[in-house]
């Protein structure tokens, strides 16, 4: 998405630079009557519609920007027509009229600059909106990109101001037009180098993200090893030597045991979270089988809670089976955890076929329960890592389960949402494409 924003802005900026070239060539021609400059004007004028058209293809999925682009193109056309008009009427006008003609033209150029700034802002807004949903380090990445986008915008803006000032000077003193040309080239070069810097920063951020992920993966793996040893020897003391301990000693040992379990859960969750990003194999996956496997993983809990689980017909989709199993296990386990006291849990899993806008088949999978639910104020927050809607002492957990669910679903190019009425239950809805990858 960063690439997209960057590309749209770059193309708009290039089109604008071309318009400035056309303007300066036109003015130069009026002042010097040099045919070469007229040809340069015609060349730039002919290039411009193609440049504008190449932006169109990038905006297809954004109606607001398509509308903005239509306005931009109308302004471009108006400006070009005006430039041509001035050339046509030039033999018959006085200096005063010429000045007013120029002023009118400059006004259109100003509107174009404002329109492009508006479109760039819209792209930035879109970018920051999408990025704000991501994790903190990704947010940091977005602001880098944003900063650099604004930087390049400022470069363009200053280039424009300088060009405007310099072209006025030129008009007044009738000096050499090649100075103006070289200014345009220089500014274009500066713009290009600013964009190159932006690209380098993007690559760097992508690499840093990958490094961070593999660090989490390795760290969580290596933490498991000594923790397992602590657990082995704590278990040994409990098994063999518990009789020799005082009541206090036994109590403390139980606390050690509990903490080991909590830390194990935490490491396992962080490990799973980091693992989702690793490349995994997509294959035809029968979600009915996945649901059965997930229930098998949770069989003890289902029995303990005396839960009823109704599973409707489920589709076969292209997915990573391990991740689907984890998704189903996490969601069912969530429903088994947040239950109402004195009420047997009832969990339903249903599916509905949907058609996406692009014609691909999609599946809506709905998980509903009769648990304690949550305040809908937190319906976004519950999917963020380490965020919880209920206190840890009341309902123990790591705060990673639903974050994993969201990451898995997004990994499969789907999305997950939650609805709830406190005291009545929760509904988690997942949309997944049938044939992703």
């Amino acid at each position: 998405m960063v690439d997209h924003t960057y590309l749209v802005k770059l193309k708009l900026q290039t089109a604008f630079t071309t318009l400035l070239k056309a303007e300066s060539a036109q003015r130069g021609y009026i002042i010097t009557s040099d045919k070469d400059l007229l040809n340069k004007f015609i060349e730039a004028r002919n290039e411009l519609p193609l440049m504008a058209a190449s932006v169109d293809s990038l905006l297809i999925d954004n109606p607001e920007q398509v509308k903005n682009m239509a306005t931009t193109k109308r302004l471009f056309r108006a400006r070009l027509v005006w430039l041509q008009n001035v050339i046509d009427v030039i033999p018959n006008v006085t200096t005063i009229t010429l000045d007013s003609l120029f002023t009118r033209g400059t006004k259109i150029t100003d509107s174009i600059a404002a329109q492009i700034a508006l479109m760039s802002n819209a792209e930035d807004r879109l970018l920051s909106m999408r990025l704000s949903e991501k994790l903190t380090q990704e947010k940091r990445a977005a602001s880098f990109v944003l900063l650099f986008s604004i930087f390049s915008l400022i470069v363009v803006f200053f280039a424009y101001l300088r060009l405007k000032g310099e072209s006025n000077l030129l008009k007044a003193s009738i000096t050499d037009n090649t100075v103006l040309e070289s200014m345009v080239d220089k500014r274009t070069g500066e713009l290009r180098s600013a964009n190159e810097k932006l690209n380098v920063q993007n690559d760097l951020l992508e690499r840093k993200n990958a490094e961070l992920n593999s660090f989490t993966f390795i760290a969580s793996h290596d933490l498991k090893e000594p923790l397992r040893k602590i657990e082995i020897y704590t278990n040994k003391i409990i098994r063999a030597d518990e009789d020799h301990l005082t009541e206090d000693g036994k109590n403390n040992l139980r606390k050690v045991s509990d903490s080991i379990q909590r830390m194990k859960n935490l490491i396992d969750s962080i490990f799973s979270y980091a693992q989702i990003e690793q490349e995994l194999e997509y294959e035809k996956t029968d979600l009915a089988q996945i649901a059965a496997d997930a229930l098998n993983n949770l069989s003890e809990k289902v029995q303990e809670k005396n839960a009823r689980i109704d599973i409707d017909e489920l589709p076969v989709i292209n997915a990573v089976p391990e991740q689907m199993e984890q998704l189903f296990t996490n969601l069912i386990s969530n429903s088994l955890k947040y239950t109402q006291p004195g009420k047997s849990p009832l969990i339903e899993i249903k599916s509905e076929k949907q058609f996406a806008e692009n014609g691909d088949n999609c599946w809506k999978i709905i998980f509903s329960d009769n648990g304690i639910g949550f305040d809908e104020l937190y319906k976004e927050k519950i999917f963020q890592i380490f965020q919880r809607a209920h206190s840890k002492s009341q309902y123990p957990g790591t705060g990673i389960g639903l974050a994993i669910c969201r990451k898995i679903v997004e990994n499969h190019h789907g999305h997950i949402t939650a609805k709830s009425v406190p005291g009545q239950g929760s509904i988690f809805t997942i949309m997944l494409p049938e044939n992703f990858k």
Binding site: H221, K224, E225, R228, K229, I232, N235, F271, Q278, E322
Partner: protein
């Protein structure tokens, strides 16, 4: 039910060797248990002491010859096809699971800390063999 006559543990971690031995002795008190610290030692032992072990517990991350290298060398010898191999590792990475299966391992067991759970998992892994 047939008993595994000879069991080989290949693991560079002495505490894990000890813990696994404890479980195995409780399951099959009569079996002959041998421990080796890496794949190279294990291959040398198997070659010099026929018949090959009926059951091998194999760690993956070991010095010199690791679990993957041991597997691919061991499986090349057709005399050893009767040996049942259980991967015994800390890693629960799907890639490791898939790769060892491809190399011919019979089961994949992630290391646990509870003796009862370990015994249960071993029994499940070999329930149709021993």
């Amino acid at each position: 039910m047939k008993l595994p006559a000879k069991i080989l543990i290949v693991d560079d971690d002495p505490e894990d060797q000890e813990f696994l031995l404890e479980a195995l002795t409780e399951i099959w008190p009569q079996a002959d248990n041998v421990t080796k610290n890496d794949g190279a030692e294990a291959l040398e032992y198997i070659e010099k002491n026929p018949p090959p072990p009926s059951l091998i517990f194999l760690d993956l991350n070991m010095p010199l010859v690791n679990g993957f290298e041991f597997l691919s060398k061991f499986k090349k010898n057709s005399d050893y096809h009767q040996s049942h191999i259980i991967i015994y590792t800390t890693s629960s990475h799907p890639h490791d699971k898939a790769k060892t299966k491809e190399l011919g391992a019979n089961h994949y067991l992630t290391k646990v800390a509870d003796l009862g759970t370990l015994k249960k998992k071993i029994r499940q892994a070999v329930e149709n063999v021993f």
